[in-house]
Symmetry: C2
Subunit: 220 residues, 2 copies
DNA sequence: TGGTGTATAAGTGTATACAGAAATACACCC
DNA sequence: GGGTGTATTTCTGTATACACTTATACACCA
């Protein structure tokens, strides 16, 4: 379904650098140079520069006048993003519940069913697939809020969170719990119950944060 | 106090295009071309492209594969941004109240006093100055939340709002009311009262939205 | 008259060349 | 030996050239 308009080198580099930075592959404060990246990636500086400008706009890279500084996001930043999402995603869900169409509901239902299929099937090989479907459900929710502002804000936060340190090890029990929460959100949307949708979405983000927090705490 | 690192042409073009797009100088859906902009602005395509990439990242410009599409923001988008800010700015204010230092309080006090000076002095010539100080107060608040996530999110929303259609005609009565609300926020911060700060900040954004809404409604 | 095919124009994507600034290294002088 | 001045290297910023894609216009043919 996705538009494949040839995907320029600049886009690929943007994606790769973003992923690497958010995944923590580069140290916070580490210095990079355009020429260095160009040589390393085997392309000219032009696409590198365009990728860099976008990363700067996202505030995960910073120009210093002489070289680039990796800003990235910290653990605290991510917790804060969850906190912000808890509020905004709830409001977006309320709106979605009030305006969602049957076709949009059916599409979310499909996403949910497919996700359930992969989760119950289990296996590490499907974890990428599951993560994509999880993201897709949220993106559909954002889209169905009908608000560009909500959609843009939430997409930006969600993208950073999902790429953070290759986050969220997929354990089946957690995946099932997350799925159940999605189901609750869906039911509220289907019932066009704004209040319930808002509560469910907020609670889902809160739980997701807790799941991540628990993992990290154990690691450290 | 601001860092003046020579301000590249690319940066200037970014600022200008962003301002023009958000101010409504370009029609929503209007097509632009790199070469056209380059000729019009008398520079090469290189800085144009870098500006465009940043604007794309902000979702106010969109690549179509053949030319650019002006997306901009609509009136509804801006109302939604206020709604989001109502929530997030409240939380940011709560945090700021809990951690703000005396030095930071003094800096906000200075901003406030200077704004009051210009507001009471009156006159259209100072409206730009007043707007800047107003923005500065909010930016200080964001900064003092101590959270990169809150700061980034709020700065992005605030920037778009302030540039929207050259928003907010400055009437002295409204400016005074806004100032009084800033004062309330400041008092809560100074008292390190998180709850009060959150309430005051949220209410201030709500009122700001109402002030804008009233103006627009009269215009249409 | 309508459709098709080609030529042309316009636009983006990428590489490269060049200018200028800034840090660094090194030699020279005291 | 230390400090200073200069040369060199290493960056970024900008312009330009070229490849490639696609829309468009126009002529030709059925």
């Amino acid at each position: 379904m996705k538009e494949h308009k040839s995907i320029s080198i600049a886009d690929q580099i943007f994606e790769q650098l973003e992923r690497d930075i958010l995944a923590g592959k580069y140290q916070r404060g580490e210095a990079l140079s355009e020429l260095g990246l160009a040589k390393q990636l085997g392309v000219s500086r032009t696409p590198i520069r365009e990728a860099i400008r976008r990363l700067e706009q996202e505030n995960i890279l910073q120009e210093t006048g002489r070289g680039l500084l990796v800003v990235g996001i910290s653990w605290e930043d991510m917790m804060d993003m969850y906190e912000i999402r808890m509020q905004i995603e709830g409001l977006a869900a309320r709106r979605a519940a009030e305006r969602i169409t049957d076709a949009e509901l059916a599409a979310m239902r499909d996403t949910l069913d497919l996700q359930r299929y992969y989760v119950e099937k289990g296996g590490e090989s499907n974890s990428a697939q599951i993560k994509n479907l999880d993201s897709q459900f949220h993106e559909q929710l954002y889209q169905n809020s009908g608000s560009k502002a909500y959609c843009d804000t939430l997409l930006s936060l969600h993208k950073k969170i999902t790429k953070f340190r290759m986050a969220s090890v997929s354990k089946k029990s957690r995946a099932l719990q997350s799925l159940a929460e999605h189901e609750t959100i869906y039911q509220a949307l289907a019932a066009h119950d704004g209040e319930a949708a808002a509560r469910a979405a907020t609670e889902h983000v809160r739980q997701a944060r807790e799941r991540i927090r628990t993992i990290e705490t154990k690691e450290n």
